[in-house]
């Protein structure tokens, strides 16, 4: 069941007020049903993505081609890196990025980075992911979390920052994923 909009405003009553059932039905079920089904999404990546790597540190939006979304805020096919806010308010977001490397040698700096961004590549939370020299497919995961105050139409994304050479996402339990839930008006 999707959340009910517009957001309900529960109304109080007075002593001996008549028409209680109408008032109840108009206010309380929508409020409780909204709270039981507040906007939530769990999005993840099923098809591996190669993040290009060079010294310019190109930020790359992480595609999220699968997911559960009770608010119609995400498309698995169109701009699938976006979670688009359908209800203004405070949101809590957790992002995860899992990357596996080709074989690495040499002394070039080896780290990547996960960013949680709003409306483009401006990050509101980040966390680094460092690699040691090692065999192909060695890798790691990193998580970051953020509280975001969103307006209608704002969109959240995860960005990866590869650094030393092209790098590929995991698609198993270490896959990139994003958890979003609405917290408050």
């Amino acid at each position: 069941m999707p959340p009910l909009y517009p957001l309900p405003v529960p109304a109080g009553v007075n002593v001996a007020q008549l028409g209680a059932s109408a008032g109840w039905n108009a206010t309380m079920p929508p409020a409780i049903n909204f709270l039981l089904h507040r906007p939530y999404a769990y999005l993840w990546q099923s098809v591996a993505q190669v993040l290009p790597g060079n010294s310019n540190k190109p930020l790359t939006a992480i595609s999220l081609d699968s997911g559960v979304d009770n608010d119609g805020a995400h498309s698995t096919t169109v701009n699938n890196s976006h979670y688009v806010c359908q209800l203004p308010g405070l949101y809590h977001v957790v992002g995860q990025l899992g990357l596996q490397t080709p074989a690495i040698s040499g002394s070039s700096e080896r780290f990547s980075q996960l960013n949680i961004t709003v409306n483009g590549n401006t990050p509101y939370a980040s966390a680094p992911l460092r690699f040691d020299a090692g065999p192909a497919n060695a890798g790691g995961t990193v998580q970051a979390a953020a509280y975001l105050q969103l307006k209608l139409g704002d969109y959240i994304e995860l960005y990866g920052l590869p650094y030393f050479n092209p790098i590929t996402t995991f698609t198993d339990y270490r896959r990139p994923s994003m958890f979003v839930h609405w917290v408050s008006t």
């Binding site: 957001l7 309900p8 529960p10 109304a11 109080g12 009553v13 007075n14 002593v15 001996a16 007020q17 209680a20 109840w24 206010t27 309380m28 409020a31 409780i32 909204f34 709270l35 405070l90 809590h92 957790v94 700096e109 080896r110 780290f111 980075q113 401006t122 990050p123 509101y124 939370a125 980040s126 966390a127 680094p128 460092r130 998580q143 970051a144 979390a145 953020a146 509280y147 105050q149 917290v183 408050s184 008006t185």
Partner: protein, 178 residues
């Protein structure tokens, strides 16, 4: 503002639904639609001395539903007004000379005594602006206060990065349940 966590009564068999009972239900719904929450941010860079704990001064409240934060006095603190379990997330970024060795960290600390979550990074000269993110769910009483604590032992002072939304240190939280 001190709000009480809602408590909806169980009515007896055959008892009428009173206005008082109705309104307690309404209060509960309204409380959950706008549960206690805060999002504090830092807009002025702050020195982080070596080998000394530093609490982030949050000079701005982007949101503070209960008045749990004072940007002028003890601005590092969010002081709990409504008891309950809170989800807390914090983010910080430091910059400065970073010789190899040692470690850097950001922690969520309560009442200057108990660290509930920490993100530690070994110092890496290649990562000049290390960033940290950590999250915890914490049972809290009225008057408890939450802070974000920095640590680094590079041997020289570093600073927080708080010059734009992309670099600003912040701490957010919200009431989850009793």
């Amino acid at each position: 503002m001190n709000r009480l966590a809602p408590n909806v009564p169980q009515l007896g068999t055959g008892a009428p639904i009173t206005a008082a009972a109705w309104n307690r239900f309404v209060y509960a719904a309204g409380f959950h639609l706008r549960a206690p929450s805060a999002l504090l941010a830092q807009t002025v860079m702050q020195a982080v001395a070596s080998s000394t704990t530093t609490r982030i001064a949050f000079d701005q409240a982007l949101r503070d539903t209960e008045g749990g934060h004072d940007p002028g006095t003890n601005s590092s603190r969010y002081t709990v007004k409504t008891a309950g379990t809170y989800l807390v997330s914090t983010y910080a970024m430091m910059q400065g000379s970073s010789p190899a060795g040692g470690e850097e960290s950001v922690a969520i600390i309560v009442n200057e005594a108990v660290i509930w979550a920490i993100h530690i990074l070994p110092r890496d000269p290649g990562i000049t602006n290390p960033m940290f993110s950590c999250t915890a769910e914490i049972p809290l009483q009225v008057g408890d206060y939450i802070e974000t604590q920095l640590w680094q032992d590079s041997g020289t002072a570093q600073t927080t990065l708080s010059t734009s939304p992309s670099n600003a240190c912040w701490m957010g939280l919200h009431w989850v349940g009793t």
